[in-house]
């Protein structure tokens, strides 16, 4: 959810800056990769010890950051899921689905025979209940869900979320296994939305007792709770033998809750954890010691370090209503001036990649270099700054860079300030703590500031619509282009995947022309796993399918 847990690390361990996971793999001591992919030889049994920081929630009702999502993903099947290895959306609780012509009505056909952990069947009615539970503040008046926005396109959402008694979302259970959902506007990417675990089904009998349920949710996934979540200590889950699909190899997962990364790393070294985040300054040492996974995502013995790109981006938001930054030449000048590779190498030890697009590389429709001005080119920067000077009728620029303090963002800003100096732009930094910073962004009381964006669903729309559609809450650059708005709305109604992606690519290029924000870096994994872990795939959305991994005996 939040990029506050910003990890910093040191410069690239490969001189130059080879950026891909495959290149990193060359640095590792050569351990034969034949052990990997030996899925036939998968051993059953064993418990995975998984490092977790205390989640916000593991109940779909409020599941938000990737910590809670990880647990929720093991406990629940949503209608669909995004399979990163295959690169496509696949059915989970739903076996198939279809949309009407203008993408306002979706019909999901549910898998028959699937049950909740308490034995109740998963029916269309379970979804109707779960989704209304998610959206209505009457579910828990003291604690309304903050993630109900996922379903904001469903008809009737406004009334339900306002707490109007008796109001329901416009969705119906045609029969036990057919679910029809009506949307209030065309949205062809809806099947991706329902891959989010907040939309997972819950059994009414159990979930109505909120006080118990949130600590030990009863789900429909491949794993079930073993006891309740002990806040600050652990969450234990075990294999659900009644699961409809492929059953897990491992017996269960012990999510060990640790508050800080240093302790976690020591635990990992002591052999008490099967995975951890790599602390700053240790990436190169860890990569050399444990070996790097060639694909960046799948951990196997000898290929234990995961450094694959994630679907999240670090960018500078420009205030498009500001006197200076309303000028596209100025925004492009700043972008051209920034040596992104130097930031990735100096501060992040190569665990970030210079961004050349606002869409991250793991997303279908990503085009390398689509945001043309998102690269280091001092000559171009000087050209643009002259144009900006002419447009604005000034001789020199003095600007303020904003960021939130205490998470290492200051270091990035200082490098950017040095870059800007080279093109004659005097920049000062204003680092305030997070709450004040967010307030500044919200009030439009800034020129240029930093932000991160993590995709909820792996689709282009999840970048373009929240960020660049006029008036949206996440559109903190206050960018507004009626042509873009119109093209976005039109693209959202295109049911055919390929056509829609092509349309969104066109929108993306339109936005890149205006260059309202400045993409800086894409994030990468900084995960290392123990050498008994096989085929543990950590996707670019940081999700793990625990059913596929197995532990060496």
């Amino acid at each position: 959810m939040s990029q506050n847990t910003f990890t910093m690390s040191r410069r690239s361990f490969i001189a130059g800056a080879l950026a891909t996971g495959a290149a990193l793999a060359m640095a590792k001591p050569s351990i034969d990769a034949s052990v990997a992919f030996a899925n036939d030889a998968a051993v059953d049994g064993g418990t995975l010890n998984y490092y977790l920081t205390d989640p916000v929630s593991i109940d779909p009702y409020n599941v938000q950051e990737n910590q809670g999502m990880q647990v929720c993903n093991a406990l629940f099947d949503a209608l669909t899921t995004y399979d990163g290895q295959q690169g496509k959306l696949i059915g989970k609780a739903a076996s198939s689905w279809e949309a009407n012509e203008d993408a306002t009505e979706f019909t999901f056909h549910l898998r028959e025979g699937a049950t909740f952990h308490n034995g109740e069947p998963v029916t269309a009615q379970s979804f109707v209940y779960a989704w209304n539970r998610l959206c209505s503040p009457l579910t828990d008046p003291e604690n309304p869900s903050v993630v109900s926005y996922h379903l904001s396109m469903v008809e009737g959402y406004d009334d339900v979320v306002a707490g109007v008694k008796g109001a329901t979302l416009n969705m119906e259970a045609k029969d036990d296994y057919t679910l029809v959902v009506h949307l209030s506007f065309s949205y062809a990417d809806f099947p991706y939305v329902v891959s989010h675990l907040a939309t997972a089904p819950v059994p009414e009998s159990a979930a109505s007792d909120m006080a118990t349920y949130q600590w030990a949710p009863v789900g429909n996934g491949a794993f079930k709770m073993d006891g309740k979540w002990e806040s600050g200590q652990y969450i234990k889950i075990v294999r659900n033998d009644a699961y409809w699909g492929d059953k897990a190899h491992i017996d269960g997962v012990d999510f060990k809750i640790l508050l800080d990364i240093d302790t976690a790393y020591l635990e990992f070294e002591a052999g008490n954890l099967d995975n951890t985040q790599i602390p700053n300054g240790r990436i190169s040492a860890v990569a050399a010691q444990y070996g790097v996974a060639p694909d960046g995502y799948t951990a196997n013995p000898g290929e234990e370090t995961l450094l694959g790109p994630e679907d999240s981006i670090y960018y500078l938001t420009c205030n498009n209503q500001d006197k200076i930054f309303s000028n596209a030449h100025m925004r492009k000048a700043v972008s051209y001036a920034i040596d992104r590779q130097a930031i990735c190498d100096t501060i992040f030890e190569g665990t970030r990649v210079p961004a050349d697009n606002f869409i991250t590389p793991g997303i279908a429709g990503y085009e390398a270099g689509a945001w043309e001005a998102a690269k280091y080119d001092v000559a171009a920067a000087k050209e643009e700054i002259e144009l900006a000077k002419k447009d604005l009728g000034v001789d020199s620029f003095s600007i303020i860079l904003n960021c939130n303090s205490g998470s290492g963002h200051e270091d990035i800003m200082q490098l950017i300030m040095a870059n800007l100096k080279e093109i004659g732009v005097e920049a000062k930094m204003e680092a305030v703590e997070w709450a004040s910073y967010l307030q500044k962004l919200q009030d439009g009381d800034y020129q240029i500031g930093r932000l991160g964006w993590i995709a909820d669903y792996p689709i282009m729309d999840n970048y373009l619509y929240p960020m660049f559609y006029t008036g949206n809450g996440d559109n903190r650059s206050q960018y507004s282009n009626p042509a873009v708005d119109e093209a976005l709305s039109a693209a959202r109604a295109i049911v055919d995947d390929a056509e829609r992606i092509a349309a969104l690519q066109k929108v993306n290029r339109m936005i890149a022309e205006d260059f309202p924000v400045i993409p800086l870096m894409f994030y990468r994994h900084t995960i290392v796993c123990s050498n008994r872990v096989n085929n543990l795939y950590v996707g670019s959305l940081q999700m793990i399918d625990f059913t596929k991994c197995w532990l060496s005996a």
């Binding site: 910093m8 040191r10 410069r11 690239s12 602390p279 700053n280 300054g281 240790r282 040596d339 130097a342 930031i343 190498d345 100096t346 501060i347 303090s405 205490g406 290492g408 200051e410 270091d411 800003m413 200082q414 490098l415 300030m417 040095a418 870059n419 000062k428 930094m429 204003e430 680092a431 305030v432 703590e433 709450a435 004040s436």
Partner: protein, 358 residues
């Protein structure tokens, strides 16, 4: 000293002006005595020399530091990765195997230790990073800036925050303490209750909350530390003034028709000045510590302006891989604060001020 002053006032005076003129006479001997006593205190002497040294270095930094060690703020993005986190290296000491630009000596076998020069050729970070001609006595930080240079420039922040914050705290504390002590009654109750309320807050939390209101930055930091520092000072002055107030010369001055404020400013303050000086000297150290704590938490002066506390927090992330980052600024804080405390102790003894310990 009290005795002397009191005696002076027992003698009948023609007018108030003359009275105040005379009152300075014994003070001169008081200061003279104090200075002599201070000079005999070796520790205090060393402390003052250190403080003067730091002040001179801080003031003259622009003239020589950037040329000698490099700029404390400027970054060259094309070389920042190469210069990043270089360990300490001092010219002339390389052959001794200390401060030679390497850190990890634990892994060396005894045989290798004998051929330390060989080891340097192979493992030295400076040549590997292409900066074999550079010497950074305290190493470099993440962005490739010289730590020594940053520490010297950081002293400007620490010293000025210390001085300014203390001045503000003393000024407010003085007024509050004086009003409480001199007027007594409801004023005393009100002001001391207010002080209680301020002291009931966990201090650092309070400063943080106030800084959250006004935002970080040099000016706000010293204002916040200063404004929130008054209660304890007010308490000290209140009791100091109460003890002065009991003296006959105050009654004498009042009998001659001197107004309240005149008495406070002309008679009470000069007689509590020793307490003020001692307390202020000690508070400077405290203010420097508070500033470093705030910077450590990211609420101090804004980067790239170097500040010692901020540098330590920078080093927290690299504790195991680049310990010099937190070590050097910490030593700077320690030595400076220590100097102010020792000097304060010395002054207290020299001026014979009775203060509660702690």
């Amino acid at each position: 000293m009290k005795y002397e002053l009191a005696e002076d006032y027992v003698a009948p005076q023609e007018n108030a002006l003359e009275a105040s003129k005379d009152s300075t006479k014994p003070q001169r001997t008081l200061w003279g005595d104090a200075f002599r006593r201070l000079r005999r205190n070796k520790l205090a002497l060393i402390a003052s020399v250190w403080i003067i040294f730091v002040v001179i270095i801080a003031l003259s930094a622009d003239l020589w530091v950037p040329q000698t060690f490099g700029s404390p703020t400027d970054i060259d993005s094309s070389t920042s990765a190469a210069r990043s986190l270089l360990p300490p290296r001092i010219k002339g000491l390389e052959n001794l195997g200390i401060f030679d630009g390497t850190t990890d000596k634990k892994n060396l076998t005894t045989g290798e230790m004998e051929h330390i020069n060989v080891y340097q050729v192979n493992a030295e970070k400076y040549p590997n990073s292409g900066v074999q001609d550079e010497y950074h006595p305290f190493g470099t930080d993440l962005l490739g800036r010289d730590v020594m240079s940053r520490i010297i420039y950081g002293s400007r922040i620490s010293l000025s925050v210390g001085l300014l914050a203390t001045s503000i705290a003393v000024l407010i504390g003085l007024i509050m303490g004086a009003v409480a002590a001199y007027y007594g009654g409801i004023w005393d109750v009100l002001i001391m209750r207010l002080a209680d309320i301020f002291l009931a807050f966990p201090y650092v939390l309070f400063v943080i909350a106030v800084l959250a209101v006004f935002g970080p930055g040099f000016q706000n930091v010293f204002l916040a530390i200063g404004i929130l520092g008054w209660p304890s000072i007010a308490r000290v002055f209140r009791s100091a003034i109460l003890s002065v107030k009991e003296n006959d010369f105050i009654d004498a001055a009042r009998a001659m028709g001197a107004g309240d404020w005149r008495i406070i400013v002309r008679h009470i303050f000069p007689n509590s000045v020793a307490t003020i000086i001692v307390y202020a000297t000690m508070s400077i150290g405290g203010a420097i510590l508070t500033e470093s704590a705030l910077s450590f938490l990211g609420m101090g002066v804004q980067p790239p302006t170097p500040s010692w506390g901020y540098m330590i927090s920078d080093g927290k992330t690299y504790l195991s891989t680049a310990p010099w980052l937190m070590m050097c600024p910490g030593l700077a804080i320690l030595s400076t604060v220590l100097a102010f405390t020792v000097l304060g102790d010395g002054l207290r003894d020299a001026l014979d001020v009775k203060m509660k310990d702690a």
